[in-house]
């Protein structure tokens, strides 16, 4: 696992690796259930039409708001509701994870692997900062 060491709170008991490393997509795409393109505000990459283009946390939030998400009061599982968790550091977004139906979270770690992790805190630290917002939308 190439990501070992980057996330000190990850251990064998709280996550599993679910893919090989790839540069084909990133955490934002993966949170949006896509695995064939890299979402980024930089020129040349995909970014949703109408979303704010910057590295501020508000830009990542807006990229999901334009897809029908809204701010959620909690990270708890609600049947029929899809949730994503935004990580930020110093006002800039660093990561986004997608909730799985059983309450675990799916994350693509940059250009490394996909993982499933039991808690949001498992990825918090000096690299990703903290979870700063939960967004939700009805499952279609």
């Amino acid at each position: 696992m190439r990501s070992k060491g980057l996330f000190p709170r990850l251990d064998e008991s709280n996550h599993k690796v679910t893919s090989e490393p790839t540069v084909e997509y990133n955490c934002i795409a993966w949170a949006a259930n896509e695995s064939d393109r890299w979402w980024d505000v930089a020129d040349g990459y995909y970014w949703p039409e109408g979303a704010e283009k910057s590295y501020d946390t508000s830009a990542l939030v807006s990229a999901f708001l334009v897809q029908g998400f809204r701010e959620s009061a909690s990270a708890s599982v609600v049947p029929g509701v899809e949730k994503v968790a935004v990580y930020s550091q110093a006002g800039e977004f660093t990561h986004i994870a997608r909730q799985l139906p059983d309450g675990r979270w799916a994350s693509k770690l940059g250009d490394l692997e996909d993982i499933e992790h039991r808690t949001l805190e498992a990825l918090e630290g000096s690299l990703y900062g903290k979870t700063t917002m939960i967004l939700e939308r009805p499952l279609t």
């Binding site: 540069v23 084909e24 997509y25 795409a29 064939d36 393109r37 890299w38 979402w39 980024d40 930089a42 020129d43 040349g44 990459y45 995909y46 970014w47 250009d111």
Partner: protein
């Protein structure tokens, strides 16, 4: 930005064929540097974020301008 990446951008257009050669070897995120150096984004809307297609768009753009790598 990583200092090495910054230095490459600082090389200006001399870096473009080197980056293109690197993209021939390994698809990676050199597009920000190419955009910064060349001041253009030749990637068509349908290819945005699709790295292999982004590479091909840059190759085509560079060939049309006489770049060799």
């Amino acid at each position: 930005m990583h200092p090495a990446y910054q230095q490459i951008i600082g090389m200006g257009k001399k870096a473009t064929p080197l980056i293109l050669a690197e993209l021939t070897r390994d698809v990676d995120h050199w597009f920000w540097a190419l955009n910064a150096i060349e001041g253009v984004d030749p990637v068509p809307a349908a290819s945005k974020g699709r790295l292999k297609q982004m590479v091909q768009a840059w190759f085509q753009w560079a060939r049309e301008r006489g770049y060799e790598w």
